[in-house]
């Protein structure tokens, strides 16, 4: 079973992100469970959503406290909320930022984890270009798919296509693909290093 936790703020589509991810898994014929950090989220408030993906029926209902992957849609949360809490040592992290971990002041922290699994993507810039708005939820899933391989990029894209109205879907898919490429590029570099 693979657990993902997504951090963001109300209005950034954090819950939708988990839903999309579960949808992508479902399209691959697998079991998936997505749910928000239940609450009365208001725009701007710190929000968390969860997604579990497994090959068999998922019975547990508890929040994902030891995620296999973390998505941080809003870097300003890094020093407000314990976003990395419970992350597995071999876990993945994808942060929406134009800076690297060191520049984000996370250099120290990254030591206990596998470097090549900790990446940042400028999802906001990408979304602004493709979508014209700062809602990086779908886009970052492209990156997550590429980073973790838990679902294919194509599944993510078809989930987006299913969930969003045509025009908006296309632009998000474009953004997701670019995020995936950026991730792929960094992976290539780190492998090369």
């Amino acid at each position: 079973m693979f657990g993902v936790r997504i951090h963001g703020r109300g209005g950034q589509g954090v819950v939708t992100a988990a839903e999309l991810l579960s949808l992508a898994a479902f399209e691959e014929g697998r079991h998936a469970q997505a749910f928000p950090s239940f609450g009365s989220e208001r725009t701007g408030a710190p929000v968390v959503s969860f997604c579990r993906i497994a090959e068999r029926e998922i019975r547990t209902r508890e929040p994902v406290s030891q995620p296999d992957a973390l998505v941080v849609q809003d870097p300003t949360l890094l020093h407000q909320v314990d976003v990395f809490g419970g992350l597995r040592p071999d876990g993945y992290v994808l942060i929406n930022s134009t800076h690297g971990f060191d520049e984000l002041g996370l250099g120290e922290w990254t030591r206990n984890f596998r470097h090549e699994r900790l990446l940042t993507v400028p999802a906001s810039d990408i979304c602004r270009r493709h979508i014209g708005q700062m809602r990086p939820n779908a886009a970052m899933l492209g990156g997550l798919a590429r980073l973790t391989g838990i679902v294919t990029l194509e599944s993510v894209c078809s989930a987006i296509a299913e969930r969003f109205p045509a025009g908006l879907a296309e632009r998000n898919i474009a953004a997701a693909r670019e995020c995936a490429e950026r991730v792929a590029a960094q992976l290539g570099a780190s492998v090369g290093a």
Partner: protein, 417 residues
């Protein structure tokens, strides 16, 4: 057809497949997505003929449902928490008049302090309202149980509450198999009322009954609800045939064979419990679970049989009867009757506190070690409450508990812990 749906949306589809004719509704979290879904289907004409009525309160919602049902319309509504309490008077009236209304309860805590998260305080408070209460474990079970509920309600002419955990199920996206209209129609034929407001055959419904007959009326209500104990398994089997999956009737056992420790629970927490049990079993611990689906009427015999071999019973309750502790465990005691099997009450998951497999594992280990008290509050922050109690001992005006403790742990009321 298999779909990846939010629980609320799945339930909305299931209810629509049952062809309700009148749906009065009032918004309250976490039930809103269900009625939003139904409202949309009525507006688009996907669900027709059906009257969706935006009422001004839950009290009105149940009252409109009473009028509609008494006039022979298949009637549905949904609510939760304070909303359920606000319609209490009408709940008793609906059951007293024998109106087969089906209502989803998106289980949620009751304030004060106000809390929108999940537990069973709301529906548990209405266990004596004369409504049949069915608790579901998953969104798939929620779908199937709603279909069963309409049939059950109309055969007995009694109202039915389908209780599903708020947020945990209502807001969870997962894979569900939504039946076809043809399947549902095969199981659920159009509503044939036992009595109806009809000018061609006028009757007076809702007479004032005095001491000379009130006891008899209540006795008959008891007998009538008890009939569900036979009918539910019957209908469940019939529905199995239609949907091709196993429903489970009044209760559902999990790895009860040779289980010495049996955990009793209602609703979605059973999934987490089952995972925990699997882990224990791998280590050879003889533990099993008993899920109670039909809480009203309470299946005394089935529970007694299921617990016959148990050395100890641990009842995990998502509600607290202040001043005594357990609610479900009281009924378990009655079921066990004279048997000496110890029953431990564990109050857990209040106001949305996650029930984790880690906590459950600790709980089971404690039980095996004989360290489990008769009444336990799972994951209670003992130090926190002790500090608060200390405060109240010291100062008369120590201020409100909730604010004090939140200050202690420095957490805002939203977001993850």
């Amino acid at each position: 057809m298999l779909e990846q749906l939010e629980g609320s949306v799945a339930v909305a589809h299931a209810v629509a497949l049952c062809r309700p004719e009148v749906i009065p509704a009032y918004p309250i979290s976490p039930q809103t997505h269900i009625v939003e879904g139904l409202s949309a289907m009525v507006k688009t004409g996907e669900l027709a003929p059906c009257e969706f009525i935006n009422v001004e309160s839950e009290y009105a919602a149940m009252s409109v449902a009473i009028g509609a049902s008494a006039t022979g319309a298949r009637t549905y509504t949904a609510t939760a928490s304070q909303g359920l309490l606000y319609m209490v008077e009408a709940l008793y009236n609906a059951s007293g008049l024998g109106l087969p209304i089906v209502m989803t309860i998106a289980n949620r805590a009751i304030g004060a302090p106000i809390n929108i998260w999940n537990d069973h305080s709301d529906s548990m408070s209405q266990r004596d309202s004369g409504w049949i209460q069915l608790y579901v474990e998953s969104n798939q079970e929620a779908i199937d149980t709603h279909i069963l509920a309409f049939r059950l309600a109309e055969e007995l002419s009694l109202p039915v509450m389908v209780c599903m955990d708020g947020f945990i199920l209502t807001h969870a996206y997962e894979r569900v198999d939504v039946p076809s209209q043809e399947q549902v129609d095969r199981f659920l034929s159009p509503y044939e009322p036992r009595q109806v407001l009809d000018p061609s055959e006028p009757v007076t419904i809702g007479a004032m009954v005095g001491p000379e007959a009130f006891t008899e009326v209540k006795y008959l209500a008891h007998v009538k609800q008890a009939q569900a104990l036979d009918l539910i398994p019957e209908l469940a089997r019939e529905l199995d045939g239609v949907l091709g999956r196993e429903q489970g009737g009044l209760v559902r056992g999990y790895r009860l064979q040779d289980a010495e420790t049996v955990i009793v629970a209602l609703g979605s927490v059973l999934g987490t419990i089952e995972d925990a049990i699997d882990q224990q079993r791998e280590q050879g611990v003889k533990v099993g679970a008993l899920g109670i689906k039909a809480f009203r009427p309470f299946p005394l015999q089935e529970v007694r049989d299921a617990l016959a071999g148990a050395a100890r019973v641990v009842v995990i309750e998502k509600a607290l009867a202040v001043g005594i502790g357990g609610i479900v465990s009281q009924d378990i005691h009655i079921a066990l009757g004279s048997s000496a099997t110890p029953v431990h009450t564990v109050i857990a998951g209040l106001g949305g506190r996650p029930i984790t497999s880690a906590s459950l594992t600790r709980l089971i280990e404690g039980a095996l070690a004989g360290e489990l008290a008769e009444l336990t509050f799972l994951d209670l922050n003992a130090e926190l409450v002790e500090r608060e109690l200390q405060r109240t001992r010291e100062k008369r005006r120590s201020g409100p508990h909730a604010e004090n403790m939140l200050r202690d742990i420095g957490v805002v009321a939203a977001g993850p812990v």
